[in-house]
């Protein structure tokens, strides 16, 4: 989990990118959600020893990322920094799977190493796909798209409210945290006892805030129903984009394109 100050920075940065206006940004968000899902499903459906056939998906991601003008370095940094769980689990593969499957000169490569590399690849691609989706669409728009795709409205309202107040509460939490670290002298992390008090205080303020927001809603005729403006329009170009992406993704999934190219070049059949 990110630290509170960097989290704030990341959220704002991604939101800022979502406000850009590129070809990718203009595509209907429903299409983007569907394509991103398809992308992930294709990538994870490869066999665990697959490496070369997954690579074109990276190419696809880089092209979309470039078209959306998302800085590659930012994305790369986020992918590297992100939760290490998959890597921690994956690193055991070379240990448990020592079946040699490839010999390159003097080096014998075991199945475990191949599947570990494959896990790393999958990890980078899936995480990258999510980040490209959010950076080219924006959270609120994704929520709207999800409502149109059948998500319950009350859950959409919950997501929108949560997102609205994340910024407010992170700022509030950050202020309290700063006030505390100013008087703490051993490292970043605070003592558990202090944390309990801090969390309790923050929770209390949060509950009070919920009351005030409810009041503000009541003042403007709130009746338990939040009406979300839904103004998404699917253009013909969007449909075309969807079809093209699905075709490309399926093609890349079904054919091992790098191997085909390689054969073409090396002349080995």
């Amino acid at each position: 989990m990110a630290k509170i100050d960097t989290a704030f920075f990341d959220l704002s940065k991604l939101e800022e990118m979502a406000n850009n206006d590129t070809v990718i940004h203009r595509i209907d968000p429903r299409i983007k959600v569907l394509v991103a899902s398809m992308f992930v499903i294709c990538v994870v459906s490869f066999h665990k020893y697959t490496i070369s056939a997954i690579l074109p998906f990276g190419l696809f991601l880089i092209i979309v990322m470039g078209l959306a003008e998302i800085p590659a370095f930012f994305l790369l940094k986020k992918i590297v920094l992100v939760s290490p769980f998959a890597i921690m689990v994956g690193i055991f593969n070379p240990l448990f799977d020592q079946q040699p499957i490839m010999v390159l000169g003097a080096i014998t490569i075991t199945g475990g190493w191949v599947s570990f590399v494959s896990i790393l690849l999958r990890f980078g691609l899936c995480v990258g796909a999510v980040l490209v989706l959010i950076a080219s669409t924006g959270f609120n728009t994704i929520c709207l798209a999800m409502v149109k795709l059948g998500m319950p409205k009350i859950f959409a309202v919950q997501l929108l409210m949560l997102y609205r107040y994340i910024f407010v509460l992170i700022e509030e939490g950050l202020r309290m945290y700063q006030a505390m670290t100013l008087r703490t002298f051993h490292g970043r992390a605070i003592a558990m006892k202090t944390y309990m008090h801090l969390a309790g205080q923050l929770l209390l303020r949060t509950l009070d805030r919920a009351q005030r927001i409810h009041l503000a809603m009541l003042c403007r005729g709130f009746d338990g129903n939040i009406r979300i403006r839904q103004s998404l329009r699917m253009a013909r170009l969007d449909i075309f984009f969807l079809a093209a992406c699905f075709a490309i993704l399926l093609l890349m999934r079904c054919y091992n394109i790098p191997a085909m190219f390689g054969r073409l070049i090396t002349g080995i059949t």
Partner: protein
């Protein structure tokens, strides 16, 4: 419609923990009047305001807004008549974009789509914030947030505006443009505040509260000249009415 009167009669309110926040308050505010409610922290201003839009119902005494006495039945009509601007704009702007937020009230009134849009744009233009339409609220500055919060209330076309500390946390320029904005409104205004300089600009009448009781109710200038009263009520003369501390010694020389 002809007489937007706010009438409070002998109102008292005690919280569950025994704090007597409002203790026998009575006043009458006429159509188009602009009234400041001033007093120390914890004097009972906020509790009083919460009665004016029906969030709290009177435990003792009466509140009358326009033609309606405040009861559970009339709450909906009263909330349409009284627009409330909160002290913390973040509590008031809870929707994903400024447009959505301003449209929240009109949509709840069940208005047709075109009228909702028209009301939203009108409210935004009256507060000079059309350009913020598609921005998310957390990206706004304090002054912009306050302007939009007022727009959300205006979109309901209320007759009476109730404001809690409208100038708190604003930088001097944002404060000044807010004062200019409010002075252009012809609504009946009730403003709870510590900013007595703003009161001089906006309100011809002032009600001073201490410990849930009314200490004074009269023309603003008269009250602000009563230094003893202000000191008792934990207040201070507005800066503009104080002799200049930098120049004074020189003049005396």
């Amino acid at each position: 419609m002809s007489h937007h009167i706010v009438e409070v009669q002998n109102l008292s309110y005690t919280y569950a923990d025994g704090t007597k926040a409002v203790d026998g308050i009575s006043f009458l505010i006429h159509h188009g009047e602009s009234v400041a409610v001033v007093g120390a922290n914890g004097a009972g201003k906020s509790t009083l305001l919460l009665h004016l839009n029906g969030y709290l119902t009177p435990q003792k005494g009466k509140v009358r807004i326009g033609d309606f006495p405040l009861t559970k039945k009339t709450i909906k009509d009263i909330r349409k008549t009284v627009g409330m601007v909160f002290q913390n704009s973040d509590d008031q702007l809870f929707m994903p974009t400024v447009y959505d937020d301003v449209a929240f009230g009109p949509l709840n009134l069940g208005l047709p789509a075109e009228e909702v849009e028209q009301r939203v744009l009108e409210a935004l233009s009256r507060t000079n914030s059309e350009h913020l339409k598609d921005r998310p609220p957390y990206k706004l500055s304090g002054g912009e947030k306050r302007a939009v919060a007022i727009a959300t209330v205006l979109a309901m076309s209320p007759d009476i505006l109730v404001m809690d500390e409208p100038t708190s946390n604003l930088d001097p320029r944002a404060r000044r443009s807010l004062i200019d904005l409010l002075s252009g409104f012809h609504h009946t205004k009730i403003i709870a505040t510590h900013d007595l300089d703003m009161v001089l600009d906006l309100c011809e009448r002032t009600i001073v509260i201490l410990d849930g009781k009314i200490m004074a109710d009269g023309p603003t200038l008269e009250i602000f000249q009563n230094t003893d009263l202000l000191v008792t009520c934990h207040l201070e003369k507005p800066l503009r009415m104080q002799p200049c501390p930098v120049l004074k010694p020189k003049v005396l020389k």
